[in-house]
């Protein structure tokens, strides 16, 4: 597609429920990143995909968080047993792996609210 698409744009869930957040990167972009932006905080790196593999998961805050990418395209970030501290905007970005110096293209994010 023309840009990075994320869905849903907003999600309200009850504490303890599982949620799935979806990211559709730009077609042909092999690198995909997930970040979290909490209120008043900067962007916190979560995970990096190169194709379908995730060589860097160092930012995932707990084992409740997981992500996968299929077909070198769509990625899903799953949060199990959500907690109130998981409330944040989750941003996805993609880039051409061979041109990392051009930075990323970001999606508009999914605003997650855990009540």
């Amino acid at each position: 597609g023309a840009g990075v698409s994320q869905s849903p744009s907003n999600k309200v869930t009850e504490k303890g429920k599982d949620v799935e957040l979806r990211c559709d990167p730009i077609s042909g972009h092999t690198a995909l990143y997930w970040y979290r932006q909490s209120l008043g905080q900067g962007l916190e790196f979560l995970i990096y995909f190169q194709g379908n593999s995730a060589p860097d998961k160092s930012g995932l805050p707990s084992d409740r968080f997981s992500a996968e990418r299929t077909g070198g395209s769509v990625s899903t970030l799953t949060i199990q047993r959500t907690q109130q501290e998981d409330s944040a905007v989750y941003l996805c970005a993609s880039s051409l792996e061979r041109t990392q110096d051009y930075g990323y293209t970001f999606g508009s994010g999914t605003r997650l609210t855990v009540v």
Partner: protein, 115 residues
Amino acid sequence: AQSVAQPEDQVNVAEGNPLTVKCTYSVSGNPYLFWYVQYPNRGLQFLLKYITGDNLVKGSYGFEAEFNKSQTSFHLKKPSALVSDSALYFCAVRDTTDSSYKLIFGSGTRLLVRP
């Protein structure tokens, strides 16, 4: 590990005056440096980058930034601010020794340009 510091939570300037948003960084290897802007309810937009070459880089909307290796800084500047420049600005760094190519972001600086 790489890190980015944006020492000012908010910068206030009058329209027509020059503006500076400060950024310092820490990396093990050589840095790739970026500025992004986030308007309300919008995703992050790329402004400019420093990869190599001229220390003064020019970007979108009349912004520029100067790479200073000795001071490990990459301050964002604009000669004449516009009210429409009011937004949240993020500085980011990629350490060229990091094989995941991830960007590490600062905490953001809110720019408020008053008429």
